[in-house]
Structure formats: C-alpha cells, structure tokens
Symmetry: C2
Subunit: 204 residues, 2 copies
C-alpha cells in the first residue's frame, strides 16, 4: 500500500494524558505498608476526587491502583474530561493507563506482577467496566454507587444487568459501598458547586 | 490538604498515545468529498487495520472518524495494545481520542461541530460501546461482527444484550456488516500469522 490518506486539516497523531500539576506534586516516595488496608486505599481515591473538584481540574472522581502484597501505591488517576477535552479520561481509565505505563505491560494480570487492586471513588460506568475487563485487574473496590452518580445527572451508559456477577465469573473480586458516604459527599459537592455534567450532547 | 501520596517507585504522571510512524506518514491533505460514501469510509478503516497487522503494530483493528457533511477525514486510529502496552488503545478509542484532540472538544455531539461518523473494522467491544456513548458520536458503521472477533479468540467482554437498541435510543445510528468479508479477512490474517490474542491474564 503506497497511497496516502486524504484529509484537509492535518489530524492529530499524538495525544498526551497528563495528571494535573497539583496531583503530580503530591506524589511522594515512602515505605511499604502505607496502603495496606482497604479503607486507606479508598481514602486516597476519595481525597484526590475531592481535591479534583476543589481545583476544578475535572469531574468528581478519583481512582488509584495498589500493590496489595506490600501496600504500596502503583498509580493514581482523576477524572480529566473537562480539562483534557478527552471523554475517555475517567479516573479509572487514567489510573489503569498510568499503572500500565509504570509497569510497562498492558496485562495487569500477568503472573510476573504482584496482585493489584483498583480503588475508585464511584462505581465504574459502562466504559470503565469494559476497561477493567481488558486491564487484567482482579480486585476492585468502589465507594459511591451508580445511583449516586446518576443522581447528580451523569449518564453512566448502558451497563449489563449482571456486570457484577460477570466480574466474579472472570475472577474479578468486586467490593462496593466502601466509605460510600464520603464518595457521595464528593459528588454532591461537585453538583452544589455547579460542576459541569459532561454528558454527550449537552455542552454549551 | 497538604499531605503527600506515598509511593515507592515514582508512578507515571503522563502517558502519550501515538499513531505508528507508518500511519502518521500516510496522512495527507486533499480536497473535500474524498470520503463521501460509507464504503469509502470503511475502506480506509479496513486498509489501516490490514496494514497494522502487516506492520506488527497492534491488533487487527482500524477505525476512523469522518465529517459526513464534507466527506473529509477527521481522525484515524489503529489498535495499539501490544505496541503501546496500554489496554485502552483499541482502534475506536484511539480514533475518538485523536478526533477530540483535533477538534479540541470532549463532546463530538456539540452543535458547533459538523456531523461525524466513526467507521470501525469490527463491532465495538464492551469498553468501546461505553467510549462511544461518552464521545458524543451519533453515527457508527462497523465491518466484522462481534462473533467474527470472538472466533479468533478475543474476549470482547460483557456487552448488554440490547446495546444496539440502546444506541438507537440515545440517537446513535448504527450500521453493521459494512464490507464484512474484508473485516473478517483482516481478523483471519492476524490469527493465521500468529498475532497475539491479548486477553487479560493470558500474556506470556
């Protein structure tokens, strides 16, 4: 094939997804065991979700990937849709992508890797359920429920009725309602502050 | 909040998704109307899917976004999972992301934008259905069927039974089986050539 593709305005050939400065600046090196417990893992996801709202860098969502063997952090992500202009930049997608970049492997279930867990400040949407499926992550904990997210207006998309059962069937352990009140509070704070509900087709 | 996040190996704070050189080099500027027809749009998606297999830069999938008002190309994407090490880099996600980067908007349904269509060499998987939902794209055409993709071993994930009906309900026009034989042929060529079936948990 030698033909060229025909366009008028040169399209993009490269896109960078970047953590906001405030989040990058908070990354710091310490000892093992810091994030040994489920609640401390979720606490981090909720902290950065709340900070993301306060800083205005995206939607009210935070996520992080942990090494559950040594209680260490592998990656973080926050929702960046409105600041990046990219609809895929949900907190879970960002955290998964940063984890894969750090570990240099698309398959987080690879036997050479330690057991990993994703903590997310809200239940995954239709896209993120699929992203988790492909990522190889086998342990997920979530704070706010799908209904809490929809309550403030987000259209989470068409999720299979049996998505939790299917997760379990694929060997993905899923725990919901971890510090749910705090997860809900972040969502409510975003809504109260007039945060943009960035459903497709509703932008001004 | 002034505390730092505790990690041991500094995690990634930036990830770049890049089209392969061969694809970037083929991008070229021409006149309107080149991709006016559905078949010519799909032909491009299939060409780059086949080339992606030949070049060994990822899975057997290609996608592109078109301006259906003037028949011009907005973005292209190919599957980059094995070359980028990022499980989200399906052809559709790459094409959507590059389109949003070019148009500088997360909402491709914005009234200020022309009508856009995504052509994909195979039906969207569970993740890409959700990615389409959030992208704002309102017209999708697909070549190979879900069953053709599963036939060569890919685990497309848990798709809602009624995903096509739900697309239509959200105003997304979906047309399947466009040049399906060619879409299937690309998949079969990948399988015959020993291309990696990158399902989670199966990497060597």
């Amino acid at each position: 094939m030698t033909s060229s593709i025909r366009i008028v305005n040169m399209p993009s050939s490269s896109v960078t997804i970047q953590l906001p400065d405030w989040l990058r600046d908070r990354l710091d090196v310490v000892s093992a065991g810091t994030y040994a417990k489920q609640d401390s893992q979720m606490d981090l996801a909720l902290q950065i979700a709340a900070e993301n709202v306060k800083r205005g860098t995206g939607g009210p969502f935070g996520a992080a990937v942990f090494n559950t063997q040594n209680g260490m952090l592998v990656s973080v992500g926050v929702n960046l849709v409105t600041s990046s202009g990219l609809s895929i930049t949900h907190a879970e997608v960002v955290a998964i992508t940063m984890a894969q970049a750090a570990l240099q492997h698309y398959d987080l279930a690879d036997v050479a890797l330690p057991p990993l867990r994703l903590a997310t400040s809200a239940e995954p949407c239709s896209m993120c359920i699929g992203a988790i499926h492909w990522s190889g992550l086998k342990s997920i904990i979530a704070s706010a429920r799908d209904e809490d997210v929809r309550e403030i207006g987000f259209d989470e998309g068409n999720k299979p009725d049996d998505w939790v059962a299917q997760f379990e069937k694929s060997g993905i352990k899923y725990v919901s309602d971890v510090l749910r009140d705090r997860g809900r509070a972040v969502l409510q704070a975003y809504a109260r502050g007039g945060g943009r509900i960035y459903n497709a087709g509703t932008s001004e």
